[in-house]
């Protein structure tokens, strides 16, 4: 990473590897004009701890906010205006003078509403124990609804058009009631929702691609990804995926400028919610119980497994490669945190999960079936974690994390660069 380059940070697993703490470190290392969110929505949970003990779980504000770095929510975000309010309040209690002044939202960003959320929860309830591990925030529902009814979709810019906004909220409310017989809760009155959305729109700045271009022109920005590549809507283990592009694709759609591509990995592979986790080990789950990842009512349990080099190699491959790896949780390693370099599936040793053609969900379902039948071949815990991870994934480890704060990070200068 040169000082002048934009950096994009994505997770090469199932999320929770520590994108927030890496973004915070990047914002501490140099002046950053903006942190840009380019996927997902308010279901993100990026935890940052400062050296003076302040702590915040970033959902929509960028993880550089505690350092005063502005946030740009791009058109690929699904924005949840209501969740912004509570998050801004908490940031204010942590000493951020005016969180709203640090926020700009692309007017084309889709808006998640309580009606989408209730639809999402009603669907998960109907699935019973076949749940997909959804967060219950309605992000996927918002995307799906916008595809099914483009004219009825609410975009952030619409929050400034009171009459049209009211109409669209009523339309969603009608659709929700017509579609689901059993709702987990009563939806709020659309007119009330419109009033609050309008008040929020009056506080948050809106922008567009030219706003983003201006920020990118001012200096090196940080693109903060949400979730993980192994949850990608087209590349994850279908159907245990998210309605979001978690690779670098959206970053490249937002800018032609060169971007340094960082992947974040943790020394254990974790998964929050349902879906394949080949290296899962209940003893690790018990030992490494994560204070930030409780069992969610919609998402399900937080599970821990050994470092799954097979799955992470696949993630690097479908992401189109990475320029560097940030490896976190080196303080949590021990003899019990082992590494998986290969699976055994139907009696055959496998080191590579082969990516399929673009947007081929049948192929993805085949990979899911493979993962569900596979058993991990576990090797002993590595001595030199950064060296072994770099070798397994074919990319240099550029940053290691040994604790929650920016001070606990070590920048490694990769040999030969």
């Amino acid at each position: 990473m040169n000082r002048g380059e934009h950096v994009a940070v994505i997770d090469l697993g199932y999320g929770d590897a520590g994108k927030g703490t890496v973004v915070d470190w990047l914002c501490a290392a140099r002046p950053v004009p903006a942190v840009v969110r380019f996927n997902g929505g308010a279901q993100a949970g990026h935890n940052v701890v400062t050296s003076d003990g302040r702590e915040h779980t970033f959902a929509q504000f960028g993880s550089g906010t505690l350092r005063g770095v502005p946030t740009f929510l791009s058109r690929f975000m699904v924005v949840d205006p209501l969740a912004l309010v509570a998050e801004a309040d908490h940031l204010a209690t942590l000493g951020v003078a005016d969180p709203w002044a640090l926020l700009t939202v692309d007017r084309d960003a889709l808006v998640a509403t309580p009606y989408h959320r209730l639809a999402n929860q009603a669907r998960e309830l109907a699935r019973g124990n076949q749940r997909h591990g959804s967060c219950g925030m309605g992000v996927g529902e918002t995307v799906a609804r916008a595809l099914a009814d483009p004219a009825g979709a609410i975009r952030f810019g619409d929050l400034r058009q009171p009459a049209a906004l009211r109409g669209k909220l009523h339309r969603l409310d009608d659709w929700l009631r017509d579609t689901f017989a059993d709702l987990p809760a009563a939806p709020p009155a659309p007119d009330d929702c419109a009033v609050v959305f309008a008040a929020i729109a009056a506080r948050a700045r809106t922008g567009d691609q030219s706003t983003l271009d201006g920020l990118l022109g001012r200096g090196p920005c940080v693109f903060e990804g949400a979730q993980g590549v192994l949850l990608d809507e087209w590349r994850g283990w279908h159907p245990y995926t998210t309605w979001s592009t978690t690779t670098f694709d959206n970053v490249h759609a937002l800018t032609d400028a060169p971007v340094v591509r960082w992947g974040v990995l943790r020394t254990v592979t974790t998964r929050h919610g349902a879906g394949p986790l080949v290296t899962e080990d209940e003893r690790l789950t018990r030992r490494l119980v994560d204070p930030h990842n409780h069992t969610g009512p919609w998402q399900g349990a937080f599970r821990v497994g050994h470092f799954d080099a097979v799955a992470h190699r696949y993630a690097v491959e479908v992401a189109g490669g990475v320029d560097g790896i940030a490896l976190t949780h080196l303080d949590a390693t021990g003899p019990d945190t082992r590494i998986c370099r290969a699976y055994v599936c139907d009696g055959v040793r496998t080191t590579r999960l082969a990516p399929g053609p673009a947007r081929d969900l049948d192929h993805q379902a085949t990979l899911t079936a493979t993962c569900l039948r596979a058993a991990p071949l576990l090797d002993a815990a590595p001595e030199d974690w950064p060296g072994v991870v770099a070798e397994e994934l074919g990319a240099p480890v550029v940053l290691t994390s040994h604790g929650p704060t920016a001070q606990d990070k070590r920048m490694l200068v990769p040999a030969g660069r």
Partner: protein
């Protein structure tokens, strides 16, 4: 990935929004500041309200209030309440693209901050201006404040697309309880605004010039010290005719301004406006109804007369239909 740690309840968000806008308003004045904030300094500047892609039908709305001691708690209440104005206008659809400017008026003969003028803004940034206004608490004690200086600034140092591109006048609301000085003083204009005037301008002439580009209203809060003093009311009626509003509950200031604009723009009639208030749970209906009864009659008359009268009414001589008793010559 997480699972939504931040409340997504509509009513929780509403309560939080109210709390945050209510408490952050006084930051600059309470810090002990006694000079005009750079962003509000009227010297050598022009304030612009411009159309853009996002706000193609901008409408300039300025609210200037007296910040001197004779108004007692009024300025502080206004600082608390006015952040609700934009939301109200948008929510109710009274105006498509409001651009709001806040400012404050003191006394140029004795105050340290006689004139503070924010920017026209289409989002919450005007609330930041509101927070930067210094509350004087002084005033001259002669029942006069430098309103005429504010009129001069608004007439000659604002540029508004609603008028310049579309011939629609903007809105200026003056909130106070005192009289303007009889003429615009050349020395004050030089030191506070930076223009060279050869001679003073009569306040009546200044107002006439201003009213070609703005609908001007004066709101007298009845809780302030000179409230009910007929000299103040009469003088303003002489200048503004029916556009003088007595308001007995300052908490309803945003609703009063919003409905005044809504009535005048023909977006609503008074009955519909009061119904709107009741619908959002406001208890200000009775107060606002009393305050706006005169304005409503004027708006109906104006709509009946049509576009021609809109220009004609801008002249000072046509605007004094309510000021026929106890006239004070300025």
């Amino acid at each position: 990935m997480g699972s939504g740690r931040w409340s997504t309840d509509v009513y929780d968000a509403a309560a939080r929004m109210r709390r945050t806008t209510g408490t952050s308003a006084f930051a600059y004045s309470d810090s002990g500041a006694r000079k005009v904030h750079d962003r509000l300094n009227p010297f050598g500047v022009t304030r612009e309200s411009r159309d853009n892609a996002e706000h193609p039908q901008s409408l300039a709305i300025a609210v200037l209030f007296d910040v001197t001691g004779s108004m007692r708690r009024v300025p502080r209440t206004l600082q608390e309440k006015l952040p609700g104005l934009l939301g109200l206008l948008l929510r109710k659809g009274y105006v498509a693209d409001p651009h709001i400017l806040f400012g404050a008026i003191g006394d140029a003969t004795c105050d340290r901050v006689p004139l503070q003028i924010g920017q026209f803004e289409s989002d919450n940034r005007m609330d930041e201006d509101l927070g930067r206004i210094v509350l004087e608490g002084g005033g001259g004690g002669q029942m006069t404040e430098s309103y005429e200086l504010a009129l001069y600034f608004m007439a000659r140092h604002t540029s508004i697309d609603c008028y310049e591109k579309r011939g629609r006048r903007g809105y200026l609301f003056l909130i106070g309880d005192e009289l303007p000085y009889p003429r615009v003083d050349a020395g004050q204009v030089r030191s506070i605004i930076g223009d060279e005037l050869r001679e003073p301008i009569a306040t009546t002439a200044m107002m006439a010039e201003l009213r070609r580009r703005y609908h001007v209203y004066y709101i007298l809060p009845t809780g302030s010290s000179y409230a009910g003093d007929t000299r103040v009311l009469d003088a303003w009626r002489d200048l503004l005719g029916q556009n003088v509003i007595e308001l007995d509950d300052l908490d309803a200031v945003c609703e009063t301004i919003g409905l005044t604009i809504g009535l005048n723009e023909g977006a609503i009639d008074l009955a519909r406006g009061l119904a709107d208030l009741a619908e959002v749970g406001s208890t200000a209906g009775a107060t606002v109804g009393r305050a706006l009864a005169r304005v409503d009659r004027g708006a109906v008359a104006q709509r009946r007369l049509g576009a021609v009268s809109d220009v004609a009414l801008a002249g000072p001589d046509r605007a004094d239909d309510g000021g026929d008793e106890g006239i004070i010559r300025l």
